[in-house]
Amino acid sequence: MEGSSKSKIPDGHSVVKRLQSELVQLMMSPSPGLSAFPESEEDLTKWCGIITGPDGTPYEGLRFKIALDFAQTYPYAAPKVRFVSPMWHPNVDMSGNICLDILKDQWSAVYNVQTILLSLQSLLEEPNNSSPLNAVAAELWDNDMQEYKKN
């Protein structure tokens, strides 16, 4: 049943296969405001994604680069996702690490690159200020939107 392994890694091909079909999916039905592509053709486990800040938010019109790193256990384990572009956001720390439930304990194998990027987009829209990584940003978001937008 697993006879058709074409990849160099003997059995890790399930990761590669899954990522290949996700790539095809993203290429064949691109969603507005987000894109993703493997960083290099040899290694499909490292992707670079770009999301556009949603309208009506301080991030409107800005494009953010995101690094996705898939382990050999993907899709059973969540990929490591972080912002490469500098990001000032309640749930993102200064080095780009993201606090998002579906990337941690709420991960499910049915999520994919597209759903991750979509939920990041909605995180930009609605930060979860109850568990901030960047407390200053969280406070400003709640209390002083004008000041927040300056950052």
Partner: protein
């Protein structure tokens, strides 16, 4: 984008539901989506049904349940013993998958513009965007196949019927059954034109008659015949669209109903019919490793003729994976393979997933972890952990690590493939953690950059503490 070129080669073999969007029947992409596993995104292999009504590949969901005891789709509670095999879906998928390439080729509107007489090209182009969204939403209901109406529903449906009929005729010997019956049932419009092909003998009947009477007759007859071995899907053979389609409707069918090749068409159906659960093989149980001695574990493995080498952790992994393969093979699958084949699969899995971890690769951290007693690691996640002592004793290492990591980052910016040192440090960290059985898997999930920042804070605060 030069890098795209090589990748394209790689992914050219990947099939995607949206392949159908450019064909005459874009709705087929919905069928295609439904027949895929949500975990691996491939066609369902030995599908199993959960109590919450979702279907996954047997191996995919079992692997998932080794980590998390809930349905990945709806998060309902789920255990391996609750999974039920779905022979029907299994044969449906195999049948469909073997048909897919032909179907795509035949329906490709650019190549077969002659047959598009009834559907105008514009409607085909318009539908995709509108349809993609729907098909995405629909992926949740696994158990019913929904056909989305097009604006020109009637003509296109009729085309699909015609197409299927002529398609069927043009291949005399390919395996299929389930999917055709699906099509003829779901797609036949309730109009004057509701003739449908019998999936078994291929004759055209009135739908009502087909469903109520003829199918049963045909099945009983078909089941008596000895099915031929499943022919390796002859996809390469191109199916030329019969030009004199309308006049040819009757003739080849009549010919075929006499020929014994009819049996080929029923292969999947017969397999499904004959797929009574043969429960002479018992399910392998999950083991409670914590209450087992090493010897007991070894005995268990050797009773299954499995190797007893490696660490305790490796043996546990080995048993878990074999249990998964076993249950998937003997409990869920229609045509099971023997134990020897299972052991071969286990071996190939072990080669890549359960190999001896690269302990010999020495880095500062792994050395320290090997030297230090497990008690240090146990305290690592609790408050009892002696931070300051740890900082003082490993100050040099942290410094070196930081330096290495920074250099690695610099280097990786210049040239990507050399990006090893940071990864290496992380890998050895992970592997040493695995080595250390007392650590829960959570710690492994710490991203490498977090690790670096951790090292960073340790070092800086240790500096300040020495300053004090």
């Amino acid at each position: 984008m030069p890098r795209k070129a090589k990748l394209e080669e790689q992914i050219s073999s990947v099939t995607d539901p949206r392949d159908f969007l450019r064909t005459q029947i874009p709705e087929l992409s919905d069928v295609d989506t439904l027949l895929r596993c949500h975990i691996c995104k491939g066609f369902l292999k030995t599908p199993v049904l959960t109590p919450c009504g979702h279907t996954f590949c047997s191996l995919c969901i079992r692997e998932y349940l080794n980590r998390e005891l809930k349905c990945p789709l709806c998060l309902a509670e789920l255990r391996e013993s609750m999974l039920k095999s779905e022979f029907m879906v299994s044969e449906l998928v195999t049948s469909y998958a073997s048909l897919r390439a032909k179907l795509l080729e035949f329906l490709d509107s650019s190549k077969n513009s002659r047959t598009v007489a009834l559907t105008s090209d514009t409607s085909v182009i318009e539908i995709p965007e509108h349809h993609t969204k729907i098909s995405n939403d629909d992926t949740n209901d696994d158990d019913d196949i929904q056909i989305i109406e097009t604006r020109e529903s009637r003509p296109s449906k009729r085309t699909s019927d015609l197409v299927l009929m002529s398609h069927k005729k043009s291949r005399k010997d390919s395996s299929k059954s389930g999917i055709t019956s699906l099509f003829s049932k779901t797609k036949s419009p309730p109009s004057q034109q509701d003739l449908a092909n019998c999936p078994i003998c291929g004759k055209s009947y009135h739908v009502e008659h087909l469903q109520r009477i003829h199918l049963d007759e045909c099945l009983t007859l078909g089941a008596l015949d000895q099915p031929e071995p499943a022919n390796s899907s002859s996809i390469a053979e191109k199916a030329p669209p019969t030009p004199e389609k309308s006049s040819a409707v009757v003739e080849p069918i009549a010919k075929r109903s006499i020929k014994p090749s009819v049996n080929v068409e029923t292969t999947h159906y017969n397999r499904y019919i004959e797929s009574a659960q043969k429960k002479n093989v018992t399910r392998l149980a999950k083991l409670n490793f914590s209450s087992m001695s090493l010897q007991q574990l070894k005995n268990k493995l050797s009773s299954l003729k499995l190797p007893t080498i490696g660490t305790r952790q490796q043996m546990m992994n080995r048993y878990n994976h074999y249990e998964m393969l076993w249950n998937s093979n003997f409990i869920d699958s229609i045509n099971s393979v023997d134990e020897r084949e299972l052991r071969r699969r286990l071996a190939s899995w072990e080669a890549s997933h359960n190999g001896s971890e690269p302990i010999q690769r020495t880095s500062a951290i792994s050395k320290f972890l090997n030297k230090n007693p497990t008690s240090v690691m146990e305290g690592f996640k609790t408050d009892r952990f002696d931070r300051k002592g740890w900082m003082r004793s490993h100050q040099k290492v942290f410094r070196r690590l930081m330096k290495e990591a920074k250099e690695g980052l610099k280097r990786s910016r210049k040239s990507r493939p050399e990006n090893v040192s940071a990864d290496e440090a992380k890998e050895t960290y992970d592997s040493s953690l695995q080595h250390n059985e007392s650590i829960s898997s959570e710690t492994n999930a710490v991203p490498s950059n977090q690790l670096l920042t951790k090292a960073d804070t340790f070092a800086t605060s240790s500096q300040s503490s020495t300053a004090l």
